[in-house]
């Protein structure tokens, strides 16, 4: 047989060979298919037709429909089109909680000199408007940013003022633990339609243990209710972080989210930053997290089969890349990576960082991803030395251990994580726990599609509509 192979990677899952092209289109085929294709031995006729139709093989070296291939690839990389959309403002490191896994080096409420100045806020907002993106998300983080209502109001009102001329579409997000939502903060949120993004780790015993407080759970849940009643039910979302203790409670955590009226959960692993690095055995944690994730995902799928609509957000992100022609704006699974391309962080200290994780490293005197200072020109920051250095390692298409990975198109590049865990922006995939986790989860989702297609596909589709 006479044909050309187009770029694709492959892996073996559930006794099948899974072929994935650069567009994320997936062909599930019998063992030995790639060997036959490489050696031009005949394969099943219908399989061959699917490979030809979906840009895996071509009768010409350059496919006649390469323009369509290019348009589809552009759609898959659409997150690059308009440059940075997410702008994170770290208002302060002051916090009113003391979480065991804090990733942000927060400090006591009484601390001074860990809060952004008005001048920094002004410069940061001006830098944000330098981004060519017509959509901007201004996200306030901490510490606990609700402890700085005046700074919050100043930042939003300045953005509103500048936007009278700029006419961009701006969303505001306040990342708060909801423990102490004052009237002043609620007034700001209501006036400017600020979304609340909060944290809840699961049932009371789990949440309170993680937070190092006896009554955090009660306060947080009361805060949710208060925020929902003032701002609207859907204006409040919550994120969970899987502490070591949480690994034993996948079902209970999902049930807690349902009980509190959420229609989705993001099963999020711990990051090895900040206080979280004191966790003893990351390999053991990663393996246990993978099992935790599978158990919780299966439970969520069962809920959906029984008629309860409930989404697991991480799977939904991967599935969007896998079973649709579109992509997502999720910064942690992008190539080129989300840093700078999709996110910039303006820290309380007046410096601009490549990502949330980058500013956390800075708390440990690692300034690798410090892009510049808010007083510098925009170009110095996004085209500066630190940015250029990171850019060399931010495409998984060109990283050893990623380039030929069977599920590379569904994953992303993360030079910040490589640097923080392996002291090397390039990273060494065989020992990378991020690689281990992502690969296991992506392959597990594919195995569900192979083994339980009729059951899971209607559910997975419903999560993406």
């Amino acid at each position: 047989m006479n044909y050309h192979l187009l770029p694709f990677t492959f892996t073996r899952i559930s006794n099948h060979e899974v072929l994935v092209n650069e567009l994320g289109d997936m062909i599930i085929s019998p063992f030995g298919t790639v060997y036959k294709l490489v050696n031009r031995e005949p394969v099943d006729e219908e399989l061959f037709k699917s490979l030809a139709a979906n840009f895996f093989v071509s009768d010409t070296a350059i496919p006649v429909l390469s323009d369509i291939y290019a348009l589809r690839l552009r759609e898959k990389k659409r997150f690059l089109d308009q440059f940075t959309a997410l702008h994170i403002f770290v208002l302060t490191l002051r916090c009113n909680q003391n979480c065991v896994y804090c990733q942000a080096s927060s400090c006591n409420e009484d601390c001074t000199s860990v809060t952004m100045t008005m001048h920094t806020m002004k410069k940061a907002v001006e830098l944000m408007f330098k981004s060519p993106s017509p959509y901007l998300t201004m996200e306030f983080q901490g510490g606990e940013p609700s402890l700085e209502p005046k700074l919050l109001r100043y930042g939003i009102e300045l953005a509103e003022e500048i936007n009278k001329a700029e006419q961009k579409n701006i969303n505001y997000v306040l990342c708060t633990n909801c423990v102490d939502l004052t009237d002043e903060v609620m007034d700001i949120c209501k006036q400017y339609k600020v979304m609340i993004s909060s944290s809840l780790d699961g049932p009371a015993y789990l949440h309170n243990t993680n937070r190092g407080k006896k009554d955090s759970y009660e306060k947080v849940v009361a805060g949710f209710e208060r925020a929902r009643s003032i701002l609207g039910h859907d204006q409040v979302s919550a994120l969970m972080t899987t502490s070591e203790l949480a690994l034993d409670y996948p079902i209970e955590i999902v049930d807690e989210y349902r009980r509190l009226g959420f229609r989705s959960i993001f099963l999020r692993a711990l990051n090895p930053y900040g206080l979280a690095t004191t966790n003893p055995d990351w390999t053991d944690y990663t393996d246990r997290f993978i099992e935790f994730y599978k158990t919780a995902l299966n439970y969520i799928i069962d809920l959906n089969i029984q008629g309860t609509f409930f989404i697991e957000e991480y799977a939904a992100i991967i599935l969007k890349k896998m079973i649709t022609p579109y992509t997502t704006g999720f910064v942690d699974l992008q190539s080129p990576a989300g840093i700078i391309n999709s996110v910039l962080v303006y820290n309380y200290d007046g410096y601009v960082y490549a990502s949330d994780e980058s500013r956390m490293l800075a708390e440990f005197n690692d300034y690798t991803f410090r892009l510049g200072h808010v007083d510098e020109p925009y170009e110095n920051i996004v085209y500066g030395k630190a940015a250029k250095n990171a850019a060399k390692y931010w495409s998984n298409e060109a990283l050893a251990g990623c380039t030929d990975c069977g599920v590379r198109t569904y994953c992303g590049a993360d030079p910040v994580r490589n640097h923080s865990t392996q002291n090397d922006l390039y990273g060494y995939r065989p020992a990378s726990l991020l690689c281990r986790k992502n690969k296991a989860i992506i392959e597990y989702i594919i195995s569900l599609i192979i083994e339980r297609y009729d059951e899971v596909m209607p559910i997975f589709k419903s999560w993406l509509l």
């Binding site: 219908e46 139709a53 979906n54 369509i68 348009l71 589809r72 649709t324 596909m457 209607p458």
Partner: protein, 264 residues
């Protein structure tokens, strides 16, 4: 398998003048005008003039052009047609297979698939609403599910997708042994493909298949698609409870489908 076989005559000028008159005399409240053939894009710029005339004379009438889509490989022509038609223009394009050689075989023309695919992208780029038509036959029915997946990944912009039962007339008879297949043979593939697309919220419908050949949960996709001047019912249809919603059969076909039965 064309059911309106092409004639080797140059009838463009004569028919064009007739059609101009038809448009000028049409009632202003006409809901839809269909432009078909043969292949209407063979009129070239005259088709654009005709569409512009309809748009001018009948501003609220939907214009439905049935075309093999190959002429839209010319992006400029496509843009000009789209501009002439405005927002109430629909182009119906047959999509015979996701595999190019099968499509070319059914279309009877080498290279047709590639031109039609580029044409579909150009139509979408020009903002034209596309009706994707899959005429079901012996060559393509095994690929209905891969075709549905292909449409979702490569042609997600289409306005709707129609799976169409074949009229047993014209070239369909001449090439019968290669392309004719009884609907009952492809109903499982048809239903799975319809389910796949409907779950993604695509507007998907089934033309020309009597309701009794479909499982109950798929009857909602069936449309009364056969024009009243060429549809008919069998005697046994009189006992059927859903006859009023059924497309019936082509009176022009030389034999009815197998497996017809009244529904209680």
């Amino acid at each position: 398998m064309c059911c309106q076989p092409p004639l080797a005559v140059d009838d463009i000028e004569e028919l064009y003048q007739e059609n101009i008159e038809r448009v000028m005399n049409a009632p202003k409240g006409l809901p839809m005008i269909g432009i078909t053939g043969g292949e209407p894009t063979l009129l070239g710029d005259k088709l654009i003039d005709l569409v512009a005339l309809v748009r001018e004379q009948l501003p609220d009438t939907e214009i439905h052009i049935l075309s093999n889509g190959r002429a839209f490989v010319d992006g400029n022509y496509t843009m000009r047609l789209a501009a002439a038609g405005g927002d109430k223009l629909v182009v119906g394009v047959p999509f015979h297979s996701d595999y190019c050689l099968d499509h070319d075989l059914i279309a009877g023309c080498k290279g047709a698939y590639n031109e039609t695919m580029i044409g579909l992208y150009n139509l979408a780029g020009a903002g034209v609403c596309i009706e994707l038509r899959i005429v079901m036959n012996a060559i393509n029915y095994r690929r209905f599910v891969p075709m549905a997946q292909f449409i979702h990944h490569n042609l997600p912009f289409v306005g709707w997708i129609a799976f169409m039962g074949m009229e047993y007339v014209g070239y369909a008879i001449k090439h019968s042994k290669n392309i004719w297949v009884e609907p009952k043979s492809y109903i499982p593939e048809l239903c799975e493909a319809v389910k796949y697309l409907a779950e993604w919220n695509y507007d998907v419908c089934i033309y020309n298949i009597p309701l009794c050949l479909l499982l109950e949960q798929y009857r909602k996709f069936a449309v009364k698609s056969i024009s009243d001047w060429k549809n008919k019912f069998l005697d046994l249809c009189d006992e059927c409870s859903v006859k009023a919603n059924c497309c019936g059969l082509f009176s022009t076909s030389i034999k009815p489908y197998e497996g017809l039965k009244p529904i209680d």
